[in-house]
Protein backbone atom coordinates (compact mmCIF):
# COMPACT_ATOMS: atom_id res chain seq x y z
CA UNK A 1 0.00 0.00 0.00
CA UNK A 2 2.92 2.23 0.74
CA UNK A 3 4.22 1.71 -2.77
CA UNK A 4 0.97 2.95 -4.28
CA UNK A 5 1.41 6.38 -2.83
CA UNK A 6 4.94 6.70 -4.12
CA UNK A 7 5.07 8.68 -7.33
CA UNK A 8 6.79 7.20 -10.33
CA UNK A 9 9.94 9.13 -11.24
CA UNK A 10 9.51 11.66 -14.01
CA UNK A 11 10.73 10.20 -17.27
CA UNK A 12 10.64 11.36 -20.86
CA UNK A 13 8.91 9.34 -23.54
CA UNK A 14 11.93 7.06 -23.93
CA UNK A 15 12.13 6.32 -20.26
CA UNK A 16 15.10 8.56 -19.45
CA UNK A 17 14.73 10.20 -16.08
CA UNK A 18 15.17 13.88 -15.65
CA UNK A 19 18.23 13.50 -13.46
CA UNK A 20 19.49 10.31 -15.10
CA UNK A 21 22.92 11.61 -16.02
CA UNK A 22 23.85 12.91 -12.59
CA UNK A 23 22.54 9.74 -10.98
CA UNK A 24 24.56 7.65 -13.39
CA UNK A 25 27.68 9.68 -12.68
CA UNK A 26 27.23 9.29 -8.95
CA UNK A 27 26.65 5.55 -9.32
CA UNK A 28 29.68 5.16 -11.58
CA UNK A 29 31.81 7.07 -9.09
CA UNK A 30 30.63 4.96 -6.20
CA UNK A 31 30.99 1.68 -8.07
CA UNK A 32 34.12 2.54 -10.03
CA UNK A 33 36.10 0.10 -7.94
CA UNK A 34 33.41 -2.52 -7.49
CA UNK A 35 34.80 -4.56 -10.37
CA UNK A 36 38.40 -4.45 -11.55
CA UNK A 37 39.28 -3.91 -15.17
CA UNK A 38 41.02 -6.93 -16.60
CA UNK A 39 42.65 -6.55 -19.98
CA UNK A 40 41.67 -8.88 -22.81
CA UNK A 41 43.95 -11.77 -23.60
CA UNK A 42 46.48 -11.43 -26.36
CA UNK A 43 46.08 -13.27 -29.58
CA UNK A 44 43.25 -13.56 -32.04
CA UNK A 45 39.77 -14.34 -30.85
CA UNK A 46 38.52 -17.72 -31.87
CA UNK A 47 35.41 -18.07 -33.93
CA UNK A 48 32.99 -20.45 -32.32
CA UNK A 49 30.61 -22.32 -34.54
CA UNK A 50 27.47 -23.19 -32.66
CA UNK A 51 25.48 -25.89 -34.37
CA UNK A 52 21.72 -25.90 -34.36
CA UNK A 53 19.05 -23.33 -35.07
CA UNK A 54 18.01 -20.31 -33.05
CA UNK A 55 15.54 -21.53 -30.45
CA UNK A 56 13.30 -20.19 -27.73
CA UNK A 57 15.36 -20.15 -24.51
CA UNK A 58 12.22 -21.03 -22.55
CA UNK A 59 10.49 -23.75 -24.57
CA UNK A 60 7.35 -25.26 -23.09
CA UNK A 61 8.47 -28.83 -23.54
CA UNK A 62 6.16 -30.14 -20.83
CA UNK A 63 6.45 -33.64 -19.43
CA UNK A 64 8.12 -34.86 -22.60
CA UNK A 65 11.08 -32.58 -21.99
CA UNK A 66 11.20 -33.74 -18.37
CA UNK A 67 11.51 -37.35 -19.51
CA UNK A 68 14.43 -36.42 -21.75
CA UNK A 69 16.32 -35.08 -18.73
CA UNK A 70 16.32 -38.18 -16.61
CA UNK A 71 19.60 -37.40 -14.87
CA UNK A 72 18.25 -34.09 -13.63
CA UNK A 73 15.03 -35.80 -12.55
CA UNK A 74 17.07 -38.34 -10.61
CA UNK A 75 18.98 -35.59 -8.81
CA UNK A 76 15.81 -33.70 -7.94
CA UNK A 77 14.12 -36.84 -6.62
CA UNK A 78 17.23 -37.59 -4.56
CA UNK A 79 17.13 -34.07 -3.21
CA UNK A 80 13.45 -34.38 -2.22
CA UNK A 81 14.14 -37.60 -0.36
CA UNK A 82 17.22 -36.20 1.35
CA UNK A 83 15.30 -33.14 2.45
CA UNK A 84 12.38 -35.20 3.73
CA UNK A 85 14.60 -37.21 6.05
CA UNK A 86 17.14 -34.58 6.97
CA UNK A 87 18.05 -34.81 10.67
CA UNK A 88 15.74 -37.74 11.26
CA UNK A 89 16.81 -40.88 13.11
CA UNK A 90 14.38 -43.31 11.52
CA UNK A 91 14.69 -41.70 8.09
CA UNK A 92 12.95 -43.61 5.37
CA UNK A 93 11.35 -45.90 7.95
CA UNK A 94 8.89 -43.13 8.71
CA UNK A 95 7.19 -43.64 5.41
CA UNK A 96 6.38 -47.18 6.53
CA UNK A 97 5.57 -46.43 10.15
CA UNK A 98 2.79 -44.04 9.22
CA UNK A 99 0.93 -46.38 6.84
CA UNK A 100 1.34 -49.24 9.32
CA UNK A 101 -0.15 -47.20 12.15
CA UNK A 102 -2.96 -46.00 9.92
CA UNK A 103 -3.69 -49.54 8.82
CA UNK A 104 -3.72 -50.73 12.42
CA UNK A 105 -6.08 -47.97 13.49
CA UNK A 106 -8.52 -48.44 10.64
CA UNK A 107 -8.49 -52.18 11.10
CA UNK A 108 -9.19 -51.86 14.77
CA UNK A 109 -12.03 -49.40 14.25
CA UNK A 110 -13.67 -50.86 11.18
CA UNK A 111 -13.02 -54.58 11.44
CA UNK A 112 -13.00 -55.12 15.16
CA UNK A 113 -15.30 -52.42 16.52
CA UNK A 114 -17.65 -51.78 13.60
CA UNK A 115 -17.55 -55.38 12.40
CA UNK A 116 -17.11 -54.36 8.76
CA UNK A 117 -15.32 -57.57 7.91
CA UNK A 118 -18.66 -59.37 8.08
CA UNK A 119 -19.75 -57.80 4.80
CA UNK A 120 -16.31 -58.00 3.15
CA UNK A 121 -14.50 -61.30 2.83
CA UNK A 122 -10.74 -60.98 3.34
CA UNK A 123 -11.23 -57.52 4.78
CA UNK A 124 -7.56 -56.83 5.53
CA UNK A 125 -6.48 -57.19 1.89
CA UNK A 126 -9.48 -55.13 0.82
CA UNK A 127 -8.42 -52.32 3.10
CA UNK A 128 -4.71 -52.53 2.41
CA UNK A 129 -5.24 -52.40 -1.36
CA UNK A 130 -7.26 -49.23 -1.01
CA UNK A 131 -4.79 -47.71 1.39
CA UNK A 132 -1.74 -48.33 -0.80
CA UNK A 133 -3.21 -46.76 -3.90
CA UNK A 134 -4.86 -43.86 -2.12
CA UNK A 135 -1.44 -43.21 -0.63
CA UNK A 136 0.20 -43.20 -4.06
CA UNK A 137 -2.38 -40.78 -5.34
CA UNK A 138 -2.48 -38.44 -2.37
CA UNK A 139 1.29 -38.17 -2.05
CA UNK A 140 1.57 -37.39 -5.76
CA UNK A 141 -1.06 -34.70 -5.46
CA UNK A 142 0.07 -33.05 -2.24
CA UNK A 143 3.76 -33.28 -3.09
CA UNK A 144 3.12 -31.90 -6.55
CA UNK A 145 1.05 -29.05 -5.20
CA UNK A 146 3.85 -27.86 -2.94
CA UNK A 147 6.66 -28.66 -5.35
CA UNK A 148 7.12 -25.37 -7.21
CA UNK A 149 6.84 -23.27 -4.08
CA UNK A 150 9.31 -25.45 -2.21
CA UNK A 151 11.85 -25.26 -5.00
CA UNK A 152 11.50 -21.55 -5.57
CA UNK A 153 15.20 -20.90 -5.02
CA UNK A 154 15.87 -22.92 -8.16
CA UNK A 155 12.83 -21.77 -10.10
CA UNK A 156 13.80 -18.14 -9.61
CA UNK A 157 17.32 -18.46 -10.93
CA UNK A 158 17.60 -21.34 -13.33
CA UNK A 159 15.84 -22.32 -16.50
CA UNK A 160 14.59 -25.89 -16.62
CA UNK A 161 11.33 -27.59 -17.54
CA UNK A 162 9.43 -26.72 -14.39
CA UNK A 163 7.09 -29.67 -14.81
CA UNK A 164 10.03 -31.61 -13.45
CA UNK A 165 9.03 -30.75 -9.88
CA UNK A 166 5.49 -32.20 -9.97
CA UNK A 167 6.87 -35.21 -11.85
CA UNK A 168 9.58 -35.62 -9.20
CA UNK A 169 6.84 -35.55 -6.54
CA UNK A 170 5.19 -38.46 -8.33
CA UNK A 171 8.46 -40.41 -8.47
CA UNK A 172 8.96 -39.79 -4.74
CA UNK A 173 5.42 -41.06 -4.09
CA UNK A 174 6.18 -44.13 -6.18
CA UNK A 175 9.40 -44.68 -4.26
CA UNK A 176 7.46 -44.70 -1.01
CA UNK A 177 4.60 -46.81 -2.30
CA UNK A 178 6.55 -49.42 -4.22
CA UNK A 179 7.58 -51.54 -1.21
CA UNK A 180 3.97 -51.41 -0.04
CA UNK A 181 2.85 -52.70 -3.42
CA UNK A 182 5.40 -55.52 -3.15
CA UNK A 183 4.06 -56.33 0.31
CA UNK A 184 0.53 -56.36 -1.10
CA UNK A 185 1.49 -58.72 -3.91
CA UNK A 186 3.26 -61.01 -1.44
CA UNK A 187 0.25 -60.94 0.87
CA UNK A 188 -2.13 -61.73 -1.97
CA UNK A 189 -0.01 -64.70 -3.01
CA UNK A 190 -0.11 -65.97 0.54
CA UNK A 191 -3.90 -65.81 0.58
CA UNK A 192 -4.18 -67.52 -2.81
CA UNK A 193 -3.86 -64.86 -5.48
CA UNK A 194 -4.86 -66.19 -8.87
CA UNK A 195 -4.81 -63.16 -11.16
CA UNK A 196 -6.46 -63.79 -14.50
CA UNK A 197 -6.14 -61.68 -17.58
CA UNK A 198 -9.08 -59.51 -16.58
CA UNK A 199 -7.57 -58.84 -13.15
CA UNK A 200 -4.27 -57.76 -14.63
CA UNK A 201 -6.07 -55.59 -17.17
CA UNK A 202 -8.02 -54.00 -14.32
CA UNK A 203 -4.76 -53.36 -12.47
CA UNK A 204 -3.14 -51.71 -15.48
CA UNK A 205 -6.21 -49.58 -16.14
CA UNK A 206 -6.48 -48.62 -12.47
CA UNK A 207 -2.83 -47.59 -12.20
CA UNK A 208 -3.08 -45.62 -15.43
CA UNK A 209 -6.11 -43.72 -14.12
CA UNK A 210 -4.51 -42.99 -10.75
CA UNK A 211 -1.22 -41.80 -12.26
CA UNK A 212 -2.67 -39.59 -14.99
CA UNK A 213 -5.28 -38.12 -12.65
CA UNK A 214 -2.70 -37.50 -9.92
CA UNK A 215 -0.24 -35.86 -12.33
CA UNK A 216 -2.94 -33.73 -13.93
CA UNK A 217 -4.07 -32.44 -10.53
CA UNK A 218 -0.43 -31.90 -9.53
CA UNK A 219 0.23 -29.66 -12.49
CA UNK A 220 -2.89 -27.57 -11.95
CA UNK A 221 -2.41 -27.24 -8.20
CA UNK A 222 1.34 -26.60 -8.38
CA UNK A 223 0.51 -23.56 -10.50
CA UNK A 224 -2.46 -22.47 -8.33
CA UNK A 225 -0.28 -22.76 -5.26
CA UNK A 226 2.25 -20.28 -6.64
CA UNK A 227 -0.46 -17.67 -6.90
CA UNK A 228 -2.36 -18.53 -3.73
CA UNK A 229 -0.76 -20.58 -1.00
CA UNK A 230 -4.27 -21.51 0.18
CA UNK A 231 -4.23 -24.38 -2.27
CA UNK A 232 -1.81 -26.51 -0.30
CA UNK A 233 -4.21 -26.27 2.63
CA UNK A 234 -7.18 -27.03 0.39
CA UNK A 235 -5.39 -30.16 -0.80
CA UNK A 236 -4.51 -31.17 2.75
CA UNK A 237 -8.17 -30.76 3.71
CA UNK A 238 -9.37 -32.90 0.83
CA UNK A 239 -6.75 -35.55 1.58
CA UNK A 240 -8.05 -35.94 5.11
CA UNK A 241 -11.30 -37.48 3.87
CA UNK A 242 -10.03 -39.18 0.73
CA UNK A 243 -9.84 -42.56 2.45
CA UNK A 244 -13.57 -42.45 3.05
CA UNK A 245 -14.43 -41.76 -0.57
CA UNK A 246 -13.19 -45.06 -1.91
CA UNK A 247 -14.32 -48.59 -1.11
CA UNK A 248 -11.69 -49.76 1.32
CA UNK A 249 -13.14 -49.60 4.84
CA UNK A 250 -16.57 -50.67 3.69
CA UNK A 251 -17.92 -52.83 0.90
CA UNK A 252 -18.81 -51.32 -2.43
CA UNK A 253 -22.25 -52.92 -2.13
CA UNK A 254 -23.17 -50.41 0.58
CA UNK A 255 -22.58 -47.59 -1.88
CA UNK A 256 -24.37 -49.48 -4.60
CA UNK A 257 -27.43 -49.69 -2.38
CA UNK A 258 -27.62 -45.90 -2.57
CA UNK A 259 -28.27 -46.08 -6.30
CA UNK A 260 -31.95 -46.79 -5.83
CA UNK A 261 -32.67 -44.15 -3.20
CA UNK A 262 -29.98 -41.48 -3.70
CA UNK A 263 -28.89 -41.84 -7.31
CA UNK A 264 -27.04 -38.51 -7.35
CA UNK A 265 -24.87 -39.52 -4.41
CA UNK A 266 -24.01 -42.77 -6.10
CA UNK A 267 -23.17 -40.97 -9.33
CA UNK A 268 -20.83 -38.56 -7.58
CA UNK A 269 -19.16 -41.43 -5.78
CA UNK A 270 -18.44 -43.52 -8.84
CA UNK A 271 -17.70 -40.42 -10.92
CA UNK A 272 -14.57 -39.88 -8.84
CA UNK A 273 -11.55 -41.17 -10.81
CA UNK A 274 -9.84 -42.08 -7.56
CA UNK A 275 -12.76 -44.32 -6.54
CA UNK A 276 -12.80 -45.91 -9.98
CA UNK A 277 -9.04 -46.46 -9.81
CA UNK A 278 -9.28 -48.09 -6.39
CA UNK A 279 -12.22 -50.26 -7.51
CA UNK A 280 -10.11 -51.52 -10.40
CA UNK A 281 -7.21 -52.23 -8.05
CA UNK A 282 -9.59 -54.14 -5.77
CA UNK A 283 -10.55 -56.21 -8.77
CA UNK A 284 -6.88 -56.88 -9.46
CA UNK A 285 -5.68 -57.74 -5.96
CA UNK A 286 -8.43 -58.36 -3.46
CA UNK A 287 -11.07 -59.98 -5.69
CA UNK A 288 -8.54 -62.29 -7.33
CA UNK A 289 -7.25 -63.59 -4.04
CA UNK A 290 -10.63 -64.66 -2.70
CA UNK A 291 -11.36 -68.37 -2.58
CA UNK A 292 -13.70 -69.72 -5.29
CA UNK A 293 -16.54 -70.11 -2.83
CA UNK A 294 -16.35 -66.45 -1.90
CA UNK A 295 -16.73 -64.86 -5.30
CA UNK A 296 -18.85 -65.48 -8.30
CA UNK A 297 -19.03 -63.27 -11.34
CA UNK A 298 -19.42 -59.77 -10.09
CA UNK A 299 -20.45 -60.69 -6.57
CA UNK A 300 -18.89 -61.80 -3.35
CA UNK A 301 -20.25 -63.54 -0.32
CA UNK A 302 -19.01 -64.33 3.13
CA UNK A 303 -19.38 -67.98 4.12
CA UNK A 304 -23.10 -68.60 4.30
CA UNK A 305 -23.95 -64.91 3.91
CA UNK A 306 -25.90 -63.25 1.12
CA UNK A 307 -24.27 -62.41 -2.21
CA UNK A 308 -23.44 -58.75 -2.60
CA UNK A 309 -22.21 -56.83 -5.58
CA UNK A 310 -18.45 -56.10 -5.55
CA UNK A 311 -18.07 -53.72 -8.47
CA UNK A 312 -20.22 -51.33 -10.45
CA UNK A 313 -21.77 -53.24 -13.36
CA UNK A 314 -20.28 -50.69 -15.77
CA UNK A 315 -16.80 -50.78 -14.23
CA UNK A 316 -14.94 -51.40 -17.50
CA UNK A 317 -16.75 -48.83 -19.62
CA UNK A 318 -16.41 -46.29 -16.86
CA UNK A 319 -12.73 -47.10 -16.45
CA UNK A 320 -11.87 -46.65 -20.11
CA UNK A 321 -13.85 -43.41 -20.44
CA UNK A 322 -12.33 -42.10 -17.23
CA UNK A 323 -8.83 -42.86 -18.42
CA UNK A 324 -9.51 -40.86 -21.57
CA UNK A 325 -10.86 -37.99 -19.48
CA UNK A 326 -7.78 -38.15 -17.27
CA UNK A 327 -5.53 -37.92 -20.32
CA UNK A 328 -7.47 -34.89 -21.51
CA UNK A 329 -7.09 -33.43 -18.01
CA UNK A 330 -3.36 -34.10 -18.04
CA UNK A 331 -3.06 -32.40 -21.40
CA UNK A 332 -5.08 -29.44 -20.15
CA UNK A 333 -2.95 -29.35 -17.00
CA UNK A 334 0.22 -29.11 -19.06
CA UNK A 335 -1.27 -26.41 -21.25
CA UNK A 336 -2.35 -24.40 -18.24
CA UNK A 337 0.98 -24.87 -16.51
CA UNK A 338 2.89 -23.77 -19.60
CA UNK A 339 0.66 -20.72 -19.95
CA UNK A 340 1.20 -19.41 -16.44
CA UNK A 341 4.73 -20.61 -15.62
CA UNK A 342 6.23 -17.53 -17.26
CA UNK A 343 4.72 -15.56 -14.38
CA UNK A 344 6.06 -17.81 -11.61
CA UNK A 345 9.29 -15.88 -10.92
CA UNK A 346 7.46 -12.65 -10.21
CA UNK A 347 5.04 -14.34 -7.81
CA UNK A 348 7.43 -16.49 -5.80
Amino acid sequence: MRAVNKKRPVTDERGRRKNAASRARKLAEKKADSMPAVAPLDGPRLVRHVPGPLVDPAPSGGIREVLSQRYLLKLIVGRELAQMYAASLLGLLWSYVQPAVRFGTYYLVFAVILDAHRSVPDFAVHMFTGQVFVHLFSETWSGGTRSIWQNRSLVLKMRMPREIFPVAAFVVALYHTFPQILLLVFWCFMTGWHPGLSSLAAGALGVAILVTFGLALSLFFAAFNVFFRDFQNIVATILSFLHFMVPMMYAFSLVYNLKASQAWMYNIYVGNPLAEGVILMQKCFWFSSLSPSEHHGNTVSQAGGPRTIAFPPDMWERGVIMLLICFVLLYAGQKYFARVEGRFPERL
Partner: protein, 258 residues
Amino acid sequence: MADSIVVDHVSKQFTMQYQRTLKQMAVAAARRLPMQEKFQAVNDVSFTVQQGEAIGLMGLNGSGKSTLLKLINGVMRPDQGTIRTRGRIAGLIATGAGFHPQLSGRENLFLNGAILGMSEPEIKRKFDAIVDFADIGKFLDTPVSHYSSGMYARLGFSIAVHVDADIFLADEVLAVGDRPFKVKCLAKMQEIRQQGSTIFYVSHATASVKAMCDRLLVLESGHLNFDGDVDEGVRYLHYEDDDETDEGGLDGEFGAEI
Protein backbone atom coordinates in the same frame (compact mmCIF):
# COMPACT_ATOMS: atom_id res chain seq x y z
CA MET B 1 29.17 -14.77 -38.12
CA ALA B 2 25.94 -16.30 -36.97
CA ASP B 3 23.33 -14.69 -34.81
CA SER B 4 23.65 -15.73 -31.20
CA ILE B 5 20.77 -13.86 -29.60
CA VAL B 6 17.85 -12.25 -31.38
CA VAL B 7 15.58 -10.11 -29.24
CA ASP B 8 12.60 -8.87 -31.16
CA HIS B 9 10.24 -6.22 -29.71
CA VAL B 10 10.28 -7.75 -26.28
CA SER B 11 8.20 -6.36 -23.44
CA LYS B 12 7.75 -7.68 -19.95
CA GLN B 13 5.21 -6.41 -17.53
CA PHE B 14 5.05 -7.17 -13.84
CA THR B 15 1.89 -7.19 -11.83
CA MET B 16 2.44 -5.98 -8.34
CA GLN B 17 -0.14 -7.37 -5.99
CA TYR B 18 -0.52 -5.24 -2.92
CA GLN B 19 -3.19 -7.15 -1.06
CA ARG B 20 -2.71 -10.85 -0.59
CA THR B 21 -5.47 -11.87 1.80
CA LEU B 22 -9.21 -11.51 1.46
CA LYS B 23 -9.26 -9.23 4.48
CA GLN B 24 -6.66 -6.91 2.98
CA MET B 25 -8.54 -6.92 -0.32
CA ALA B 26 -11.77 -5.97 1.41
CA VAL B 27 -10.07 -3.10 3.25
CA ALA B 28 -8.44 -1.90 0.03
CA ALA B 29 -11.73 -2.05 -1.85
CA ALA B 30 -13.44 -0.04 0.88
CA ARG B 31 -10.72 2.61 0.77
CA ARG B 32 -10.67 2.54 -3.01
CA LEU B 33 -7.00 1.70 -3.12
CA PRO B 34 -5.73 -0.12 -6.21
CA MET B 35 -5.54 -3.89 -5.81
CA GLN B 36 -2.61 -4.23 -8.12
CA GLU B 37 -0.42 -2.17 -10.33
CA LYS B 38 1.22 -2.96 -13.63
CA PHE B 39 4.86 -2.16 -14.02
CA GLN B 40 6.64 -2.21 -17.35
CA ALA B 41 10.07 -3.69 -16.62
CA VAL B 42 11.20 -4.13 -20.22
CA ASN B 43 9.63 -2.02 -22.92
CA ASP B 44 9.77 -2.94 -26.60
CA VAL B 45 13.43 -3.89 -26.67
CA SER B 46 15.01 -5.19 -29.88
CA PHE B 47 18.60 -6.09 -30.67
CA THR B 48 20.65 -8.79 -32.31
CA VAL B 49 23.89 -10.18 -30.97
CA GLN B 50 26.43 -12.03 -33.10
CA GLN B 51 28.19 -15.12 -31.79
CA GLY B 52 31.33 -14.04 -29.98
CA GLU B 53 30.32 -10.47 -29.18
CA ALA B 54 30.87 -9.23 -25.65
CA ILE B 55 27.99 -7.02 -24.63
CA GLY B 56 27.98 -4.70 -21.66
CA LEU B 57 24.64 -3.89 -20.11
CA MET B 58 24.40 -0.69 -18.08
CA GLY B 59 21.67 1.35 -16.55
CA LEU B 60 20.53 2.71 -13.24
CA ASN B 61 19.16 0.37 -10.62
CA GLY B 62 15.69 -0.79 -11.57
CA SER B 63 16.14 -0.11 -15.25
CA GLY B 64 15.36 -3.71 -16.22
CA LYS B 65 18.84 -5.19 -16.66
CA SER B 66 18.25 -8.30 -14.59
CA THR B 67 14.83 -8.82 -16.10
CA LEU B 68 16.33 -8.70 -19.57
CA LEU B 69 18.94 -11.28 -18.59
CA LYS B 70 16.25 -13.50 -17.08
CA LEU B 71 14.33 -13.30 -20.34
CA ILE B 72 17.41 -14.25 -22.35
CA ASN B 73 18.24 -17.05 -19.93
CA GLY B 74 14.69 -18.40 -20.19
CA VAL B 75 13.78 -18.05 -16.51
CA MET B 76 11.02 -15.67 -17.58
CA ARG B 77 9.01 -15.41 -20.74
CA PRO B 78 8.31 -12.13 -22.49
CA ASP B 79 4.71 -10.89 -22.57
CA GLN B 80 5.17 -9.56 -26.07
CA GLY B 81 7.82 -10.18 -28.66
CA THR B 82 10.15 -13.11 -29.10
CA ILE B 83 13.62 -14.12 -27.98
CA ARG B 84 15.69 -16.67 -29.85
CA THR B 85 19.07 -17.96 -28.74
CA ARG B 86 21.54 -20.43 -30.17
CA GLY B 87 23.49 -22.88 -28.07
CA ARG B 88 23.99 -23.53 -24.38
CA ILE B 89 23.38 -20.64 -21.98
CA ALA B 90 25.05 -20.38 -18.60
CA GLY B 91 25.71 -17.63 -16.17
CA LEU B 92 24.72 -15.99 -12.98
CA ILE B 93 21.65 -13.87 -12.62
CA ALA B 94 21.06 -11.37 -9.83
CA THR B 95 22.88 -11.95 -6.56
CA GLY B 96 23.50 -15.61 -6.04
CA ALA B 97 23.19 -18.77 -8.00
CA GLY B 98 20.16 -21.02 -7.94
CA PHE B 99 21.24 -23.18 -5.07
CA HIS B 100 19.20 -25.25 -2.75
CA PRO B 101 19.93 -24.03 0.79
CA GLN B 102 19.65 -27.42 2.49
CA LEU B 103 21.94 -29.20 0.07
CA SER B 104 25.71 -29.31 0.41
CA GLY B 105 28.00 -27.57 -2.03
CA ARG B 106 28.78 -30.90 -3.67
CA GLU B 107 25.11 -31.79 -4.23
CA ASN B 108 24.35 -28.32 -5.49
CA LEU B 109 27.27 -28.57 -7.87
CA PHE B 110 25.78 -31.68 -9.47
CA LEU B 111 22.24 -30.29 -9.46
CA ASN B 112 23.29 -26.97 -10.93
CA GLY B 113 25.49 -28.61 -13.53
CA ALA B 114 22.63 -30.87 -14.61
CA ILE B 115 20.25 -27.92 -14.87
CA LEU B 116 22.79 -26.09 -17.02
CA GLY B 117 22.72 -29.04 -19.38
CA MET B 118 25.79 -31.05 -18.39
CA SER B 119 25.61 -34.82 -18.35
CA GLU B 120 26.74 -36.89 -15.38
CA PRO B 121 30.11 -37.90 -16.89
CA GLU B 122 30.75 -34.32 -17.94
CA ILE B 123 30.16 -33.02 -14.42
CA LYS B 124 32.35 -35.75 -12.93
CA ARG B 125 35.09 -34.92 -15.39
CA LYS B 126 34.99 -31.23 -14.53
CA PHE B 127 34.33 -31.71 -10.82
CA ASP B 128 37.90 -31.12 -9.63
CA ALA B 129 38.38 -28.09 -11.83
CA ILE B 130 35.16 -26.54 -10.56
CA VAL B 131 36.04 -27.15 -6.91
CA ASP B 132 39.57 -25.82 -7.42
CA PHE B 133 38.36 -22.67 -9.08
CA ALA B 134 35.68 -22.05 -6.44
CA ASP B 135 38.27 -22.49 -3.70
CA ILE B 136 35.75 -23.48 -1.05
CA GLY B 137 38.01 -26.19 0.38
CA LYS B 138 36.58 -28.12 3.29
CA PHE B 139 33.16 -26.50 2.99
CA LEU B 140 32.29 -28.59 -0.02
CA ASP B 141 30.13 -30.91 2.07
CA THR B 142 28.54 -28.21 4.19
CA PRO B 143 25.02 -27.03 3.33
CA VAL B 144 25.27 -23.90 1.21
CA SER B 145 23.01 -22.05 3.63
CA HIS B 146 26.08 -21.86 5.90
CA TYR B 147 28.25 -20.36 3.18
CA SER B 148 29.36 -16.77 3.21
CA SER B 149 27.97 -14.76 0.34
CA GLY B 150 31.43 -14.76 -1.23
CA MET B 151 31.70 -18.54 -1.16
CA TYR B 152 28.20 -18.82 -2.56
CA ALA B 153 29.08 -16.59 -5.49
CA ARG B 154 32.40 -18.35 -6.07
CA LEU B 155 30.83 -21.77 -6.35
CA GLY B 156 28.04 -20.49 -8.60
CA PHE B 157 30.46 -18.69 -10.85
CA SER B 158 32.81 -21.63 -10.99
CA ILE B 159 30.06 -24.00 -12.13
CA ALA B 160 28.82 -21.53 -14.72
CA VAL B 161 32.23 -20.93 -16.30
CA HIS B 162 32.93 -24.63 -16.57
CA VAL B 163 29.78 -25.34 -18.52
CA ASP B 164 31.50 -24.36 -21.75
CA ALA B 165 28.49 -22.29 -22.69
CA ASP B 166 27.95 -20.60 -26.02
CA ILE B 167 26.32 -17.68 -24.23
CA PHE B 168 27.61 -16.53 -20.88
CA LEU B 169 25.58 -14.15 -18.71
CA ALA B 170 27.15 -12.36 -15.74
CA ASP B 171 25.00 -10.14 -13.61
CA GLU B 172 26.30 -8.09 -10.71
CA VAL B 173 26.65 -11.30 -8.75
CA LEU B 174 30.41 -10.98 -8.45
CA ALA B 175 30.08 -7.76 -6.51
CA VAL B 176 30.09 -9.76 -3.26
CA GLY B 177 33.41 -11.51 -3.83
CA ASP B 178 36.79 -10.28 -2.66
CA ARG B 179 39.09 -8.48 -5.04
CA PRO B 180 41.52 -11.27 -5.96
CA PHE B 181 38.61 -13.50 -6.79
CA LYS B 182 36.97 -10.80 -8.92
CA VAL B 183 40.19 -10.45 -10.90
CA LYS B 184 40.34 -14.22 -11.31
CA CYS B 185 36.72 -14.29 -12.50
CA LEU B 186 37.15 -11.50 -14.99
CA ALA B 187 40.31 -13.11 -16.33
CA LYS B 188 38.32 -16.29 -16.77
CA MET B 189 35.61 -14.34 -18.57
CA GLN B 190 38.22 -12.85 -20.88
CA GLU B 191 39.30 -16.40 -21.60
CA ILE B 192 35.71 -17.38 -22.39
CA ARG B 193 35.45 -14.34 -24.61
CA GLN B 194 38.65 -15.34 -26.37
CA GLN B 195 37.16 -18.73 -27.09
CA GLY B 196 34.32 -17.13 -28.99
CA SER B 197 31.43 -17.32 -26.55
CA THR B 198 28.91 -14.53 -26.47
CA ILE B 199 29.14 -12.57 -23.24
CA PHE B 200 26.63 -10.42 -21.44
CA TYR B 201 28.20 -8.43 -18.64
CA VAL B 202 26.23 -6.26 -16.24
CA SER B 203 28.18 -3.85 -14.08
CA HIS B 204 28.25 -0.27 -12.88
CA ALA B 205 32.04 -0.18 -12.99
CA THR B 206 32.75 1.72 -16.20
CA ALA B 207 36.40 0.77 -16.55
CA SER B 208 35.64 -2.90 -16.10
CA VAL B 209 32.92 -2.82 -18.76
CA LYS B 210 35.23 -0.96 -21.14
CA ALA B 211 37.89 -3.64 -20.73
CA MET B 212 35.49 -6.50 -21.21
CA CYS B 213 32.99 -5.44 -23.83
CA ASP B 214 32.84 -4.65 -27.54
CA ARG B 215 29.43 -3.12 -27.40
CA LEU B 216 27.22 -1.46 -24.84
CA LEU B 217 23.49 -1.51 -24.28
CA VAL B 218 21.99 1.11 -22.00
CA LEU B 219 18.60 0.46 -20.46
CA GLU B 220 16.55 3.27 -18.97
CA SER B 221 13.24 2.40 -17.29
CA GLY B 222 12.95 -0.62 -19.53
CA HIS B 223 13.73 1.22 -22.78
CA LEU B 224 16.82 0.35 -24.77
CA ASN B 225 18.12 3.87 -25.28
CA PHE B 226 21.60 3.20 -26.47
CA ASP B 227 23.11 0.37 -28.46
CA GLY B 228 26.60 0.76 -29.83
CA ASP B 229 30.16 1.66 -29.00
CA VAL B 230 31.14 1.35 -25.34
CA ASP B 231 32.77 4.76 -24.91
CA GLU B 232 29.92 6.53 -26.60
CA GLY B 233 27.44 4.62 -24.50
CA VAL B 234 29.15 5.66 -21.29
CA ARG B 235 29.10 9.26 -22.51
CA TYR B 236 25.41 8.93 -23.30
CA LEU B 237 24.78 7.58 -19.84
CA HIS B 238 26.74 10.21 -17.94
CA TYR B 239 25.97 13.52 -19.60
CA GLU B 240 22.85 15.63 -19.81
CA ASP B 241 20.86 15.53 -22.98
CA ASP B 242 22.61 18.30 -24.83
CA ASP B 243 22.89 18.14 -28.62
CA GLU B 244 26.25 16.44 -28.66
CA THR B 245 25.33 13.35 -26.64
CA ASP B 246 21.95 13.10 -28.28
CA GLU B 247 23.73 12.56 -31.55
CA GLY B 248 25.92 10.00 -29.90
CA GLY B 249 22.84 8.08 -28.85
CA LEU B 250 21.35 8.24 -32.31
CA ASP B 251 24.58 7.18 -33.94
CA GLY B 252 24.63 4.21 -31.67
CA GLU B 253 21.17 3.22 -32.73
CA PHE B 254 21.98 3.57 -36.37
CA GLY B 255 25.06 1.48 -35.76
CA ALA B 256 22.88 -1.30 -34.45
CA GLU B 257 20.64 -1.26 -37.48
CA ILE B 258 23.45 -1.88 -39.90
